[in-house]
């Protein structure tokens, strides 16, 4: 114990020498809009991994079917879409097997939608912890994005297995060099989900009724994305709308890469990247502004 006391005295002397103005934490009414606390977020990176671990373990333990659930959901959605949009409505899939075509869209869309939905309620879901202890709130949405990535990995594996199955059946692989863009697409989806989720969660702390609009809105957005139809089948009238949707190029490139069918244009890709970047930055800025005192209104 003696050494501790000695050490501390030494420490405090050293600090006094450094001068009065050095503070480790300052809490004041207004912070600069671009003061995003990135350094602080980095300090808490262990928390990010522990939260991901928590999400995974609790999901695994709480459901009866456990990880099997990861497979069931995309499988059933794909089957439903194949029947309704493929067989009943008879939408074109550009010659790609219907099941594969829908599965590609559903897998990607699910990741994005899960990110948005989960992130958009982050303040409400964590108000208990947020009200008791401070840590950079951005850690929470980031952990959601990463947690969902685990789920996405499992589902993409399912997709690859299905792809392999169809390839063996038909005897031909359709993979093109665009598949190399896949890692980039994941990042883009994650950032889009994060940015949009942050914007929504920030707005819902003030205007609660927005929550009801979100689930509905994300669903509607899916129909403005090329999930259940190819971009080539979109009528001229709505084309611009679908093309400007940043998720459209993501899904189109994914299909082009792994199924050999889809549209690609550098212009659209560039536009979607700019949009993603803008949404992410704006999302984080508004999130950081709201996190400072959202606990007063929730």
């Amino acid at each position: 114990m003696n050494t501790t006391i000695g050490g501390n005295e030494h420490l405090s002397e050293g600090r006094q020498g450094e001068g009065e103005q050095e503070w480790d934490m300052i809490n004041k009414p207004n912070a600069h809009i671009l003061d995003l606390n990135i350094k602080e977020v980095l300090h808490y990176r262990d928390l990010l991994w522990l939260l991901v671990h928590r999400d995974f373990v609790s999901f695994y333990k709480q459901t009866v079917l456990g990880p099997l659930w990861f497979f069931i959901q995309p499988l059933f959605t794909t089957i439903t879409y194949t029947i309704i949009f493929g067989n009943l409505a008879g939408l074109s899939t550009e010659g790609v097997p219907k099941f594969l075509f829908y599965m590609a869209g559903v897998t990607c869309w699910n990741y994005f939608a899960d990110c948005v939905n989960k992130t958009s309620t982050v303040f409400k879901d964590n108000s208990n912890v947020f009200g008791k202890v401070y840590f950079p709130r951005l850690i929470m949405p980031l952990s959601i994005i990463v947690s969902n990535l685990v789920r996405f990995a499992v589902q993409i594996l399912l997709f690859f297995i299905t792809l392999l199955f169809f390839a063996i059946k038909s005897g031909s692989f359709q993979i093109t060099s665009y598949a190399l863009l896949f890692p980039f697409l994941i990042v883009q989806m994650a950032l889009l989900g994060l940015g949009l989720g942050c914007i929504i969660s920030s707005l819902t702390t003030k205007y609660r009724d927005l929550v009801f609009v979100i689930g509905f809105g994300v669903q509607l957005l899916m129909y403005a994305t090329t999930v259940v139809y190819p971009l080539s089948a979109v009528p001229e009238k709505y084309r611009l709308l679908v093309e400007l949707n940043p998720m459209t190029p993501v899904i189109e490139i994914f299909r082009l890469g792994f199924l050999g069918e889809g549209s690609f244009s550098w212009t659209l890709f560039a536009v979607s990247i700019i949009e993603t970047f803008a949404i992410t930055v704006f999302g984080i800025i508004i999130f950081n502004k709201v996190e400072r005192n959202f606990i007063d209104t929730i």
């Binding site: 928390l47 522990l50 840590f135 609660r208």
Partner: protein
Amino acid sequence: MAIAIKVEDLSKAYQIGQIGTGTISRDLERWLAKKRGKEDPFLRIGEVNDRTVIGESNIVWSLKDINFEIQQGDAVGIIGRNGAGKSTLLKLLSKITTPTTGIVKVKGRIASLLEVGTGFHPELTGRENIYLNGAILGMRKKEIDRKFDEIVAFSGIDRYIDTPVKRYSSGMHVRLAFAVAAHLDSEVLLIDEVLAVGDAEFQKKCLGKINDVTSNEGRTVVFVSHDLAAVVKLTKTSILLKNGTMYENGITRKVINTYLSTDYEKKTKYIGGVKDTAPSITRIEVITSNPNNVQVHGKKLSIEFDINFPVAIEGAILYFQVFNSKMQPIINPWFEESRLISTAGTVTLVCNIPKTRFYVDTYSITAHLGEIKGKQHFESVEHVCPFEVNMFETHRQSEWIKDACAYIEDFSWEVKNDNMNFDGKD
């Protein structure tokens, strides 16, 4: 010693009432005013947070112009009645929310001792929760690795460390939560009412640890509690908040005396709210022998309680404690009656003490209401109805020395030796 916490002109305004209506238009108005460099049209300066007076605007100042400094290695208590701004101050110190005006500056890392199980996930094991909770409090994984054995040893739950915490008792929860926070390498520790739970033995252990943290490790502790006895034990100085302003700042014993004294709040009556489902204490009143809450030693003292029962309850139990200014409980009368209430409504109970034996001091009442059968605890009302005891009618030639004792028992003397010669008695 260097300054660990510096608070300058700190104020916090809250908007009360309906926040939801017309917010979009109001927000626009506010935004416009801000853009033009004008003051917020919905903020009025100078209104005090007093719940008994309805303010003119729906802005309430939860804290107003607070200034203080805390030296490194000090333990400081924050006391005040409910709604005085204690929690708000702690929230501002820990950066959970931002001030409306003013600034908080802290040197070193801050950790807050969390309420039981905040951030604990029921499905995770004790081990996993130690890591998760530690990380929430700002520890790196490496630091937790280093402290892990110490944390487990302190919490005393090593046997169950790999059991999901949903199987833990609430006592084990507290042990674990406290152990994590107390072993953090933070320079400043904020503690809010956490010691209210847990068994007496562990509470003692916690208090000991907090003492250790301040005196041996040189860490700064800010302690918010209704448990004035703990505040006295742990802190040298305290801050008394009243309606959001700093009422007094100084030696803890003195500040607590102000808190309990009649000058501070002339109220001798405690009035509580009625609850919809649970029984509650709606009134406590001390009837002293003399006016102005002065009780003369040896005279009759009555304490009245109104208890509201929204539903019929079989076998209620009420007991209360009378605390002196050192926060020692002096007496603990109880009322345990299985026939007490058979119907809903309000009952008045009066406890008569025919001859008070309290020594000269300032006293307060703490009452607890519960149920015999279900062992449920309904409500505690702490440190209300302060009154003073003096010795007006008890004669002795020597002076009444302050703090000589807490209580005077009836006694008589017998002289067995004839050598003594009493004056006036031959």
